[in-house]
């Protein structure tokens, strides 16, 4: 009886709440044409489609959910999806089209650094907002971009710290393997400086770069094996780009390198990439992210359920950049409501300091450097293709957009609050505009 009464009371409460929203919402019901457009700038074809298509889908879901909640400022959101086809000049063209033709209020998009670099001048010129959801090399802090992915200190450095700890195997010898582009180059530079600072000798660091889409890893994996047989505990820090990972891990498995011998910690391998692999030979290898699908919180569970329902596919995985979009989108909605307008300038100012729930049970805050605070998780690849958290930072990590471990950027900070309003303020010289 008691339970029933409770339920009925709850139901009544719910109903009255619904009615209240309905009456409140009625005058603000979406009028025809009263929609605000949001740009979704992710490649749906070409080499990056494999990663970016999911982000397009998650944006459609978030916008759909927001509309069901009554939109933003009483206006309905409309997603404008375009396909920049993994072609960098086309990214710039599409960005210009979204902003100047479709008049979007903000854009969510890009995956590779080069695509972000390509659209950056357009966003600056036309003064719009880009939410960039992927972990990247840092060394950038622009007024028109909000970086919801991890900076190197929110992913790479904690991962190395973990491996150096007793828990992570007290690693003494390091292989920094990456695809030859800017993210691995910069990350490895930062890591190299960091490792040397921690007393690792130069001959205990091996750096290797491979071209995009490298598919023949025989020589490199056997080199790693050789490097790892010098008697000191060895680990591989992998910044190998998406596509090349499958053959890399397959070769590791074939050459019998187990995680207990030489663990590999990867920064670009997520649940989505693992879904394309047979993970049994990979059990125990590590990844570092700010979110895992396996994180056990009510927020995450609800997000995954909604995602499965939205995509009508109970097997679709979730991953870190999706969470970044989730945070970025909610922060944008909150900032628009705070600013009371969709105009870019007030929203950019309003975004700083906005705190929204992330999916791992805490809150992520947009900092004055346009990056967000994040927890860092180290996960172990399991046989089911999921990551099991083996370590996490005790609190949230604030992004260092300019790495203190690099010569050129150690004196720079970004702070877009007035009166500083500067992305590259040199603290040593006390002026905006970088070093020298």
């Amino acid at each position: 009886m008691d339970r029933f009464a409770m339920n009925r009371r709850q139901a009544l409460l719910g109903a009255s709440a619904l009615a209240a929203t309905a009456t409140l919402g009625a005058p603000r019901a979406f009028a025809a044409g009263e929609t605000v457009k949001v740009g979704v700038l992710h490649s749906l074809s070409g080499t990056m489609a494999i990663s970016e298509t999911t982000l397009k889908d998650v944006m459609l879901m978030l916008i759909d959910e927001q509309n069901k909640k009554g939109g933003v400022l009483g206006q309905k959101l409309e997603a404008v999806v375009v396909d920049p086809a993994s072609n960098w000049p086309l990214f710039a063209e599409k960005a210009r089209g979204l902003i100047s033709q479709d008049k979007v209020a903000a854009c969510f998009g890009c995956w590779t650094s080069v695509s972000r670099k390509s659209v950056l001048p357009v966003f600056k010129e036309l003064d719009n907002i880009l939410f960039y959801p992927v972990q990247y090399e840092g060394e950038e802090c622009e007024r028109n971009v909000f970086y919801t992915g991890a900076a190197p200190n929110q992913q790479a450095i904690p991962a190395v710290d973990y491996l150096m700890s007793a828990d992570g195997g007290a690693v003494k010898r390091w292989v920094l393997a990456g695809t030859d582009y800017v993210y691995p180059r910069t990350t490895n530079k930062i890591l190299e400086a960091y490792l040397k600072l921690k007393g690792v000798a130069a001959e205990d660091i091996m750096i290797n770069y491979t071209p995009f889409g490298q598919s023949d890893w025989q020589t490199i994996v056997s080199d790693i094996k050789k490097f790892g047989s010098a008697g000191k505990k060895t680990a591989v820090v992998s910044t190998i780009n998406g596509d090349a990972n499958v053959p890399f891990y397959k070769e590791l498995g074939n050459q019998n390198i187990k995680a207990t011998d030489i663990p590999v910690v990867a920064f670009s391998v997520g649940e989505e990439e693992l879904a394309g692999m047979d993970t049994k030979p990979l059990v125990g290898h590590l990844t570092a992210w700010n979110y895992f699908e396996s994180i056990d919180t009510p927020e995450n569970k609800s997000f995954i359920d909604r995602w499965h329902a939205f995509t009508k596919n109970p097997k679709r995985t979730t991953n870190d950049p999706m969470e970044a979009h989730y945070i970025g989108f909610n922060a944008w909605v909150k900032a628009v409501e705070k600013a009371g307008t969709f105009k870019a300038d007030p929203v950019i100012d309003a975004l700083i300091g906005v705190s929204v729930p992330n999916l791992s049970g805490g809150f992520s805050t947009v900092m004055p450097n346009h990056h967000i605070t994040k927890p860092v998780y180290i996960g172990e690849i399991g046989a089911d293709g999921q990551m099991n958290t083996v370590w996490q930072t005790p609190g949230l990590v604030v992004a260092q957009e300019w790495s203190p471990y690099l010569e050129g950027s150690k004196d720079l900070i970004g702070d877009w609050r007035k009166p500083m309003s500067c992305g590259n303020y040199n603290v040593k010289l006390g002026k905006c505009g970088g070093a020298a």
Binding site: T47, D167, Y209, Q218, T219, K250, N254, G276, D278, G284
Partner: protein, 535 residues
């Protein structure tokens, strides 16, 4: 070192006829597992081993396999049998009536895994199973620890199998060489054993023996002589290893190019959709594997061999379809086939992306293709070896089809002189369609093999198309043997360059080499001779 302590304790545990069970220490030890923290789990292993509980080996085995479960409420620990039944970890008794859903898995990390491997490996030194003894000796060799010397010596005393004995002796040598202790004769013997082994680990241990603070001049001399001898052997093996890598890369190139050698080389169609045929073969493999896993799980090991004819038929049928609807209108206009097939390739890519999604599809390796084995100092991975064998088999089969079957005869006749062949009563249209189907089907077969080493994604074909054209042109258009030689040659050259130049520069060097080579021999490695060339 605690690891050794565990080994010793476990040995004691096994040797003792019937250790009396101490209920309390076992429960204390198991309680650590319920804390769900790695340091606690670590301590739990130590205490469990020290407690001498009869269930300890079973519990540790279960922990390693992720079968050790605990109830967060009652703090009881259970382990699941392979059958799924639960046993109580403290008593080993069947624990019926415990709801599995409420149990949590005891988590692992690499540190715990290593610790377990060492603990269980120590046990395995005396295992009745020869394979387990060999593996345990190998582990002992790779993780030399002075304290395990006693266990190794004990095992040596019992060992009768020659191979296992040799492995144990090497493990012992590793321990002696790295310990920096022991009589001179013992150390010299260890150095000799390691020299005979002659691999990178042996070199590392020999160097450590030389660097030991109390090493006598004789030991130092022997060690440095051993090191240079091992280095020489290693460099020879390295050259062979590179040749093997090259052969394996070359066979992948050949496999990808061989279908193109038919459609492009023999038929003259600049087939830009060739890569997509490879991709379709790979997707067929994926679909078939899923189908087999769903309907006939017993056959899942065989799904890859079954995929070979399936991929041939699927890709071949699509090839015939393309030939009948597009290509046949373009014979005699080879450049236009480039444009049309480029369009076809865009359509096929997007079709697969729409049907299967843009992400990679998992294709697992059957057991016979997993792992690697040693041939002297050569490490050969089983998967790569089968691909080499498979490629050569496909090549041989193709030669047989072209030379020894009526279809091959007609195909050659049509491509050499279409009108004459037609006049002789050959249905040239049918032969064209079948030939294009054959080339596409072989590309599909290549997809089956490539699914084992590369991404199965809509972009799969794109990464092979340029290399395939290079191989066919370098070998000489229209010459299958040229394709074979070109593929293997380029593969081996690439792999010999890679250690010096790095992967990117090696590839650039190969491309520049092809450009220069074509200047020297403008019609490829094996140019066709005669009037036909200038036509």
């Amino acid at each position: 070192m605690p690891r050794t302590a565990i080994v010793a304790a476990l040995l004691a545990l096994l040797c003792a006829a019937a250790a009396p069970a101490h209920a309390a220490p076992v429960d204390d030890a198991l309680a650590h597992f319920t804390a769900d923290k790695f340091p606690e789990t670590d301590r739990g292993i130590d205490e469990l081993v020290a407690s001498g509980a009869p269930t300890a080996p079973a519990v540790l085995g279960a922990l390693g396999d992720g079968r050790l479960l605990f109830d967060p409420g009652s703090h009881r620990v259970y382990y699941a049998e392979a059958s799924g039944a639960l046993d109580d970890a403290a008593t080993g008794a069947r624990a019926d009536g415990v709801a599995q859903g409420a149990l949590k898995k005891v988590r692992l990390n690499n540190g715990i895994r290593s610790k377990l491997a060492a603990a269980l490996g120590g046990l395995d030194l005396l295992s009745p199973d020869r394979a387990k003894r060999l593996a345990a000796a190998d582990t002992a060799f790779h993780t030399p620890d002075p304290k395990s010397l006693a266990a190794i010596d004990a095992a040596l005393g019992r060992e009768t199998d020659p191979a296992a004995k040799a492995a144990l002796l090497q493990a012992r040598a590793a321990v002696v060489a790295t310990s920096g202790a022991g009589p001179e004769a013992d150390r010299l013997g260890a150095i000799a054993t390691l020299t005979a082994r002659g691999d990178g680990d042996a070199l590392n241990y020999v160097n450590q023996a030389a660097a030991a603070p109390d090493a006598s001049p004789a030991v130092k001399n022997a060690a440095s002589a051993a090191a240079s001898s091992i280095r020489f052997t290693l460099s020879l093996w390295q050259a062979l290893q590179n040749a093997w890598y090259g052969l394996s890369l070359g066979s992948v190139l050949l496999l990808a190019a061989i279908g193109l050698a038919i459609t492009f080389g023999v038929m003259g169609v600049i087939n830009m959709a060739h890569g997509e045929m490879v991709m379709i073969g790979a997707y067929t493999t994926y679909l078939l594997q899923d189908l087999v896993a769903a309907h006939a799980p017993a056959w899942s090991e065989a799904s890859l061999p079954i995929a070979v004819p399936a991929a041939f038929l699927v890709a071949g049928a699509i090839g015939v379809g393309i030939e009948r609807t597009v290509i046949r209108f373009l014979y005699g206009r080879p450049l236009e086939t480039l444009l049309a097939t480029w369009g076809v390739s865009l359509i096929l890519q997007q079709a697969v992306r729409t049907a299967f999604g843009p992400d990679n599809r998992p294709v697992s390796a059957p057991r016979f293709m997993a792992g690697s084995f040693h041939l002297g100092g050569l490490e050969i991975t089983a998967g790569r070896m089968w691909i080499v064998v498979f490629t050569l088999a496909v090549f041989a089969a193709l030669q047989v089809v072209l030379r020894a079957t009526p279809f091959g005869l007609r195909m050659r006749a049509v491509t050499q002189n279409r009108r004459m062949a037609s006049a002789m009563g050959i249905s040239t249209g049918r032969i064209d369609a079948l030939a294009f189907g054959l080339g596409s089907g072989i590309a599909g077969i290549a997809g089956v093999a490539l699914s084992q080493i590369d991404n199965v994604s809509p972009n799969l074909g794109q990464s092979y198309i340029i290399d395939s054209f290079m191989v066919v042109v370098f070998g000489g258009v229209g010459n299958l043997w040229g394709t074979l030689v070109a593929a293997l040659g380029l593969g081996i050259a690439d792999k010999f360059l890679e250690p010096f130049a790095g992967a990117v520069l090696a590839k650039i060097a190969i491309l520049v080499f092809i450009v220069l080579f074509i200047q020297k021999r403008p019609r490829g490695l094996f140019a066709l001779k005669g009037r036909a060339v200038e036509a």
